[in-house]
Symmetry: C2
Subunit: 307 residues, 2 copies
């Protein structure tokens, strides 16, 4: 396996100004593995209940996502999330969360996943993320996501975890909350001292930035005329990021920058449809075209100031 | 005169998490003219009262800002604004506004300004902005700012004005409000149809984007570790933008992109101090260094996707 993704596989009911879906395929590991599957072999470590529709399994398999690490608890119910977005799609409201089988989830890595070089620790309890780290053999790169819930309720294990991951990937609000800083730049500096060698800060429709101890890289989001549903954008970003790194086999600054672009492109496709709809329909040429468009969008000639 | 700037010259009382100032030098034309003065001859069209401290006049003169267009009404009081920023400096609260001499302000262009090639219509009533346009002879480029107040109360004259300006410069919220769209991309498309040939959307600490009918350019904000006071950042941006264009004498896409970078750099200096403090202390080398840093911050190698 090139990329292993630990996270949620869920059913989502989502309402946005563009429409609504009921019990659609969702979850962080779902979005990330689909995005990664365009570039590398991706496997999922997660859990669903007996109610998880077989068509969703078929959808993931058809995309080439490996499901050996997906546990199915016949008598249980799948993690369910209901949320709503207002006109500003950067803000969302959680209306209902049913943890169900996720409540007692204990990630188990299949033997074939243990030597995977690229590992995505999706947004689950930091203790579980640490538990996963204990099951892999010297991964080349570990990317870690988290959320405000764990910053509030599990800060200590989260701090311990930060010392063991290569890259932390959070949004601007989470970066500030976790560091106690009010500017993203100060937050990133603080987080870099806490462990990871890169901090990726997602800025929703404004793009994303990657901070290193000696480096700063930032790109805009691909312009999307009619964003339909931002759910999973961050996970699609992370999956595209790791999938691209696995495909090129490098983790130097140049490759990380390219991976950030690929991640942003996958996120831009994700938000164009509800659930994983638009993420499933991609052609490699679509991805390449948006990577080129982002390259054009940031070009400028060196500036010479006159006296 | 290379750049003429119409807007407010004010006294600001500002409170942020980093500190506070009372009746400090402020106003859109103040920030914009100081920023522009680093690159070109800049003149101000505005009004102050007899209470306007002479030291502020001296400060502007020392920076080389031309004040022939600054009316001083001896018996009047200067425009006063009091505002507060919370931890998220992208959001601000107006606590007090005293229009004073600004209430009856009717911009008058001195004869020496009428043939200026670059004109900044700062954020004042759209009828006044139009009135200024009637006093200039075929400017090469007109940049127009506005705000939610005029979108709410003077939409019709604002719409008429849009047909007569080259570039509209607004923040993301204003772009959406003015167009009635919910995504910045859709808003920019709508605004481009309303008149201007470029729309600049400022995204606070997330950077800014420039939309054309066939072009899209976007840059991050320069990372600022300890932003002190964001007041005037957008005006410093606009002043730097036009000052740079005037200095290089071009208005093609390449020059506009460079000007956007220079504008973003001037805004980043502005937010590092209270009032115009940090904007006054710049050296050309400081500006050039941040332009180079922004160039490095957006570089990535073309992406080749493997099969």
């Amino acid at each position: 396996m090139d990329v292993v993704i630990v996270g949620s596989v869920a059913l989502d009911s989502i309402e946005t100004p563009s429409g609504a879906v009921e019990r659609a395929l969702g979850g962080s590991a779902t979005y990330a593995s689909i995005a990664a599957s365009y570039f590398a072999r991706a496997g999922v470590v997660g859990v669903v209940g007996g109610d998880f529709p077989h068509k969703h399994i078929a959808t993931l398999r058809k995309r080439g996502v490996d499901l050996e690490g997906l546990e199915i608890i016949a008598g249980g119910k799948t993690f369910f999330w209901r949320g709503r977005y207002e006109a500003d799609l950067n803000e969302r409201t959680t209306l209902e969360t049913q943890l169900n089988v996720f409540e007692t989830f204990s990630p188990k890595m299949p033997a074939s996943y243990r030597r995977c070089p690229f590992l995505l620790l999706g947004n689950i309890h930091p203790e579980l993320q640490m538990h996963v780290l204990g099951q892999v053999e010297r991964p080349r790169l570990v990317l870690c996501d988290t959320m405000n819930l764990w910053i509030d309720t599990a800060l200590k294990p989260l701090r311990r975890l930060l010392r063991r991951v290569d890259i932390l990937c959070v949004n601007d609000g989470e970066a500030c909350q976790l560091s106690g800083k009010t500017s993203v730049t100060a937050a990133a500096e603080w987080l870099l001292k806490a462990g990871p060698r890169r901090v990726i800060v997602k800025r929703g429709s404004h793009g994303c930035s990657m901070f290193g101890r000696q480096s700063f890289f930032s790109i805009p989001a691909c312009p999307v005329r009619r964003p339909a549903d931002p759910t999973g954008a961050g996970d699609s970003f992370a999956g595209g990021f790791l999938g691209y790194l696995a495909s090129c086999g490098r983790t130097d600054e140049s490759a990380l920058r390219q991976a950030l672009v690929v991640g942003a492109v996958m996120a831009s496709f994700c938000v164009e449809g509800f659930s994983v709809g638009s993420l499933l329909r991609l052609k490699r040429a679509d991805v390449a075209a948006r990577c080129r468009a982002l390259h054009r969008a940031v070009q400028f000639e060196p500036i010479r100031l006159r006296n």
